[in-house]
Subunit: 282 residues, 2 copies
């Protein structure tokens, strides 16, 4: 790349959404309105905001948004019951359980209860396994967004060294798996990694998925690295120190306006995919 | 480590098997004989040898070995039917489908058909996903063997840089996942990796899982690296060039007598684990 590229997530998200419009129209002609059920447990304000943003994004595109808000006292069993009902509801194509749930709930059990074919947010271990082995339908939305941004901007992964900082089940691990399947050599780092800056220095592609504001510094980067920042922290900052990383990179996602909007568009895409699968199966 | 250590797989395998004996005795008192069904399709001689070795290892320990040998003309549907019957047979605790099956069969579909609770060989995507997310019961046996050898010899993973060469669904990918969960920083390499020797040079721990005889050379290694060779190639050689790698390493698995015998013992262990789970569920 000759000049520095700002990877504009809004542009990628719009591209994804434009691609969905005719597909949604076809589904509607067949009497199917793609439908995403979102489950929010408790009153965490930022979780409430996220769920609202996702629901609104659905509706703007003509996807039905069924918003379930459970009280913070909800038990694991009650949450599982809600999920089972949504699994069995043929009008629901995708289920999203907003993370995190209150700490008394077994979140993993709740995620695992989501039917694979409705796991459009990519949280089940089964969906993760299929993604990692290369035939998953719905990877977690942020990893899927990162891949989508790379494709939109023709950022090649094959033979490149990708360093992923973070190893969470819905971000660091699946994005590592997707990049590996795209033929990158992948190093996954985390809080116990020794000499993190030295490892990041080798990366052609850096994925920041650590959840710490401005954690990755420009002087850690190799000149010309591609920086994909999946972080979103208080103060509207990502996991990389933008100014210094911008200087060293050949391409970088801003925060906000980078990975975030694409993540939501991937959720919409997976919901439409799931509705189409249901139609095919009819 | 002060002196060079040869990681004796036979010793580790014996340790695993000794630990199983009292557990098998307890199961038998409860009227349960742990039972492994092995499925061999076709007449590939080395596959036949592997299956026989596994079956014999079962019987020497008092685990029932149900050996199913299907003709090479078997269709995917017929194989799936056999697997379904074994899934539903309460006297069978573990199912092993010997890889590879004849090329006209959809091997992935066959693996995926194995019930999670009987997937003692760790081949399903669901089992893989659970392993990678940290709560899987039965990782693939070779990755499990590598971890077991490390534990037996007190080889610490935390904070170490592990480089895995290979990314197959039952070896490179799951061993990368297990090492990551043991808090190693993990780099997964493969045929498209550029500058492989340079990357291997950084490794504190090298896992050779590439399936190419004597592929990894001693001069690729950092002085004092731990070398775990999961390869087994014609001529009784592994994936590392033993003599030169021995010189540079602090610890190394020989071939034969390294990872191989432990792999079989992990299959036995998983079968006993599965029988115990069934007893608990009663």
């Amino acid at each position: 790349m000759d000049e520095k590229l700002i990877l504009d997530g809004q542009k990628v998200a719009n591209d994804v959404k434009e691609g969905l419009k005719p597909r949604i129209a076809v589904l509607k002609e067949d009497g199917i309105i793609p439908s995403l059920a979102t489950i929010l447990v408790g009153d965490d304000p930022s979780s409430a905001t996220y769920v609202r943003m996702k629901g609104n994004a659905c509706e703007r595109l003509g996807i039905h948004s069924q918003r379930i808000h459970l009280p913070k006292e909800t038990t694991t069993d009650e949450l599982l019951q809600t999920i089972h009902e949504l699994n069995n509801d043929p009008t629901v194509h995708g289920i999203l359980l907003q993370h995190p749930v209150p700490s008394h709930i077994d979140e993993r059990a709740a995620f695992e209860a989501i039917a694979l074919e409705k796991d459009v947010d990519g949280v089940t271990s089964w969906g993760y396994g299929q993604t990692a082995l290369g035939f998953g339908l719905y990877p977690s939305c942020t990893p899927a967004a990162i891949v989508r941004i790379m494709k939109y901007y023709n950022i090649e992964a094959e033979g490149k060294h990708a360093v992923v900082v973070g190893r969470s089940p819905i971000l660091g691990k699946p994005v590592s798996a997707l990049l590996l399947n795209m033929n990158a050599t992948v190093t996954t780092c985390h809080s116990r990694t020794v000499n993190l800056p030295e490892i990041v220095k080798q990366a052609d592609i850096v994925v920041a998925a650590v959840g710490k504001p401005e954690f990755i510094k420009g002087n850690w980067l190799k000149e010309g690295a591609v920086v994909l920042d999946a972080g979103y922290n208080p103060g509207n900052v990502g996991d990389v120190e933008y100014e210094s990383c911008y200087q060293k990179s050949s391409a970088i996602t801003p925060v906000p306006g980078g990975v975030g909007p694409v993540t939501i568009s991937m959720l919409l895409k997976h919901t439409v995919d799931a509705a189409e699968k249901l139609l095919e199966a009819k």
